[in-house]
């Protein structure tokens, strides 16, 4: 959020339509994402009630649990879901591509992408992963091998979802709200139907009207995992009781009928969200992709490849909790990635850069003077140091000395030499180095030309090396000392299920 975004919200209120806050798309959208809309039974920690899932808008799979409080039925659901998800993931385990100059030398050529409606969908997926990845495939309460494997993959996706640079798992409301400003509050933006109403209202309706209509749970059921309480009380309860009664009666045809009625009821709650999800995908695809998105997706492919090989090599499931070193490493990495993505977004998108200009972290303007052939030093130490003067109406750098980078030429550094007032505007003299070859004349286009509109930011889009952490076996005593080597034990598998 920034003044610029809030101003866009104000414009949205006045015009009745959502306003773009980005000129490009800052996430990767797969050509074949797996859309997953889960529903949970109210009151339980993680009791799947139903889900609609698939990678084709016309061919979703609808999974239903007739009695979510029954552990056998929960794991039967997990097995059904695993059949869909694992087959989808397998589709990405065929083609590999070389990774020049890096280890390992190859990675998978593309990666799967999991899309859920909202943050609560990510939380549910994380807990579903947690509740299945330690299950045993033999002994009491054995489950099919696909169930723990599903749990490991769901955990992998939700861990990646925490990373600001990753597009492996996305919540539709987060992504849409990052690209459009609506005339409502961020709290209301969490409603997928209302958010899409603002962004893409049906013909004949304003965004505000479409959003208001989407708040009616009968017309637009909640996007889950929580269900509409009125639906629970007035429809779901009876249908679940009917299935139970029919099962106890032993009448096979009555059971079929009751189960079909329950499935039909749950379908009415899921299908509208399914359609909304694919509308969101289409809207996002229509935006041009930001310049750095592909490089970030390469990082996702690396992560996918690493995890797929870890699973194939018989590695253990993710532990219940990170050790001290792993947690510190993860936190530091998230912080670095957060900064990196913020900078890359600004470099890819003038509207995002405008937020930094408003905050005084960047400035932009026309080049009003240039000394392209300026050379300093003498003899063999002569180096090219061109200067340009940029006239800007933005908040200029406070004093000379700072180093700035321009999105147009990220490899070139610009040091502020002088800042002078010029009427209501400011002239900033910049000395350039880098990105201009070895000769003493800059090649055409390698530096800003007279009259060019340029922007300069106080940050670069560069990757920062991670700080050094001790190896897990050298964990200092302040952090509990070296942890016991993690191996999934019986305790993980034996926990109670109600």
């Amino acid at each position: 959020m920034s003044t610029l975004t809030s101003l866009a919200r104000a414009v949205a209120v006045a015009t009745g339509t959502a306003q773009r806050t980005c000129t490009v798309r800052h996430v990767h959208v797969s050509a074949r994402p797996l859309v997953f809309v889960p529903l949970a039974l109210a009151g339980e920690a993680v009791a799947p009630l139903a889900a609609i899932v698939g990678d084709q808008p016309q061919a979703p799979a609808l999974l239903v649990v007739a009695e979510p409080r029954d552990r056998d039925q929960r794991f039967a659901f997990a097995a059904d879901l695993a059949a869909v998800v694992l087959r989808y993931i397998d589709g990405y385990l065929a083609e590999q591509e070389p990774t020049p100059g890096r280890e390992p030398a190859t990675r998978y050529a593309d990666a799967p992408q999991l899309l859920v409606p909202n943050q609560a969908g990510i939380t549910f997926t994380r807990l579903l992963g947690r509740s299945t990845r330690f299950r045993r495939t033999e002994g009491p309460y054995a489950v099919p091998p696909s169930v723990p494997l599903l749990g490991r993959w769901l955990t992998f996706f939700t861990e990646r979802a925490e990373s600001p640079s990753s597009s492996l798992m996305l919540a539709a409301t987060d992504v849409l709200a990052a690209h459009w400003a609506t005339g409502q509050s961020p709290v209301e933006d969490r409603n997928l139907g209302a958010l899409l109403g603002w962004i893409d209202p049906p013909p004949g309706m304003s965004g505000a009207q479409a959003a208001a209509a989407a708040e009616d749970p009968v017309r637009c059921p909640p996007a889950g995992p929580a269900t509409d309480p009125t639906f629970d009380n007035e429809v779901l309860d009876q249908r679940m009781l009917a299935v139970r009664a029919a099962r106890l009666s032993g009448d096979g045809r009555a059971f079929q009928r009751a189960a079909a009625a329950l499935t039909a009821a749950l379908a009415t709650q899921l299908e509208p969200t399914w359609a909304l999800m694919w509308r969101a995908v289409a809207l996002l695809r229509a935006l041009p992709e930001g310049a750095h998105v592909a490089a970030r997706w390469d990082g996702d492919k690396d992560a996918f490849t690493w995890h797929a090989r870890h699973v194939a090599d018989g590695g253990p499931p993710q532990p219940r909790r990170d050790g001290a070193v792993a947690a510190a490493r993860r936190l530091a990495s998230l912080e670095r990635l957060h900064e990196m993505v913020a900078a890359q977004r600004a470099f890819d998108d003038p509207l995002v850069m405008a937020e930094h200009r408003l905050a005084g972290e960047a400035f932009a303007g026309r080049v009003v003077a240039a000394e392209p052939d300026r050379v300093v030093g003498a003899g063999a130490r002569r180096v090219l140091r061109p200067r340009i003067t940029v006239e800007t109406g933005d908040v200029p750098p406070a004093e000379p000395g700072g180093t700035f980078t321009s999105p147009a030429r990220p490899g070139q550094q610009a040091r502020v030499v002088a800042v002078t007032a010029a009427g209501g505007r400011t002239r900033v003299v910049l000395e350039l180095r880098g990105g201009m070859g070895r000769s003493l004349t800059p090649p055409p286009g390698s530096m800003p030309a007279l009259g060019e509109f340029v922007s300069y930011a106080a940050f670069g889009d560069g990757w920062q090396p991670p700080p050094a952490f001790p190896a897990p076996e050298d964990t200092p005593w302040t952090h509990g000392g070296p942890p016991a080597r993690y191996a999934p034990d019986d305790d993980d598998a034996r926990e109670d299920w109600s």
Partner: protein, 397 residues
């Protein structure tokens, strides 16, 4: 009945009074500047019914599955004289409890009178503190009272006040799961503020018996199901911060008399029920009565107050309806129309002709407003410029 109570009774009309509970007090404390909510809650108005009658039914209900799960878990923990709870307190929290009594204060000899129950609660609690034995005591369903907005609200917590060696701990049983030692942050925060309400009410009750506040610990005990099971697990919550917040907010809720003084004498939210109980009052008339009491709508109301849709509709066109952060970022300017006018009206992209709502055009210019105007103008200029700069790229991509 004193003057204040008579006024509140008139505002409530013929409907039965609704009582406060820890949840409503916690919600009140989260938006203490809202006179509408303060008056409605103090008068015990049936807000869901009123909101529905004026055409803005409250957006929340509770699923019977959630209720059933909550009740089943609570019953299980409290079964057989709270046997499971006692084990938890002993083992998890290392409390040296040789044995404990279990007293249910739900009714007094079959008499459910609130005053009687409250008196008995106070007497028993005070006796437990002043003559503590080695055995602990668990009090279930105590009836407490808290002064809110100059008026006493009865609280019927479904909880246990656990007393050991003259010191009380509030025990709250919730049915959300603690998985690998972590629970949903929002739910824990809600539980903590509710526990704080009970701590405050319990301290009030004991103060009347001249027992110092330290007799009620600021460490409350939260009991939740562990992982995916029904096994209870206990965690201690330090609610000192919540107590401070709550005390400050309760003090800030203007005394109800001051609020009442600002309202017309004849104000009432009575629905004018006919013989069959169906309201006969016109919704427009009721809505006009509601508007007499000023609201302070923020989007957070959407999850805490039954009147939220009515107030949101009323706040349309205000920056506050876009969230606290947006309002601040727009320089604290109150109306969206003013924001757009300051930002440059006709030059703002997407606003045809810079339409300005009537009545907002001649806002007096204060230094704050001038500063906001400067910020908004710069933002509008940058937005327009960047949107133009982005346009060719869009076609290229």
């Amino acid at each position: 009945m004193n003057g204040t109570e008579a006024r509140l009774a008139r505002i409530r009309g013929r409907a039965l009074a609704k009582t406060h509970n820890a949840r409503t007090i916690a919600a009140l404390a989260s938006n203490p500047g809202c006179a509408r909510r303060a008056i409605m809650d103090a008068a015990g108005v049936d807000k869901p019914r009123i909101a529905a009658h004026v055409g803005f039914p409250a957006p929340f209900g509770q699923s019977r599955f959630a209720l059933a799960r909550g009740n089943a878990f609570e019953a299980q923990v409290k079964a057989e004289g709270a046997a499971q709870l006692l084990t938890l307190l002993r083992e998890r929290l290392n409390l040296p409890i040789p044995q404990a009594h279990y007293d249910d204060l739900a009714e007094v000899g079959g008499n459910p009178s609130l005053d009687l129950r409250h008196a008995r609660t106070k007497a028993l609690l005070a006796r437990a503190v002043t003559s503590p034995g080695e055995a602990g005591t668990m009090f279930d369903h105590p009836l407490l009272r808290l002064a809110v907005g100059g008026r006493h609200a009865f609280l019927e917590p479904d909880l246990i006040a656990f007393q050991l060696r003259g010191r009380f701990h509030i025990v709250e049983v919730k049915s959300f799961a603690v998985i690998d030692g972590q629970a949903d942050g929002d739910k824990v925060a809600a539980a903590a503020i509710q526990s704080a309400v009970y701590v405050l009410a319990l301290r009030d009750a004991l103060a009347e018996q001249h027992v110092p506040p330290e007799a009620v610990s600021h460490e409350t005990i939260l009991v939740c199901p562990k992982d995916f099971s029904n096994q209870p697990v206990a965690t201690t919550l330090d609610v000192r911060k919540q107590l401070t917040v709550l005390r400050r907010q309760l003090a800030r809720i203007a005394r109800i008399d001051d609020l009442l003084d600002l309202l017309p004498d004849g104000l009432t939210f009575d629905l004018d029920p006919g013989g069959d109980g169906v309201p006969r009052r016109s919704p427009a008339d009721l809505a006009a009565a509601i508007r007499q009491v000023e609201a302070a709508y923020v989007p957070e109301c959407l999850s805490t107050c039954e009147m939220c849709y009515f107030c949101r509709d009323e706040a349309r066109g205000c920056t506050a309806a876009l969230g606290r952060a947006a309002r601040e970022e727009l320089g604290g300017v109150e109306h969206v129309a003013t924001v757009l006018r300051l930002a440059g009206g006709a030059e703002t992209p997407g606003v045809p002709g810079g339409t300005v709502a009537p009545g907002t055009a001649r806002t007096p210019v204060t230094p704050d407003l001038a500063e906001a105007a400067e910020l908004l103008r710069r933002a509008a200029r940058l937005r327009a410029e960047a949107s133009r700069a982005g346009a060719p790229r869009r076609e290229a991509g």
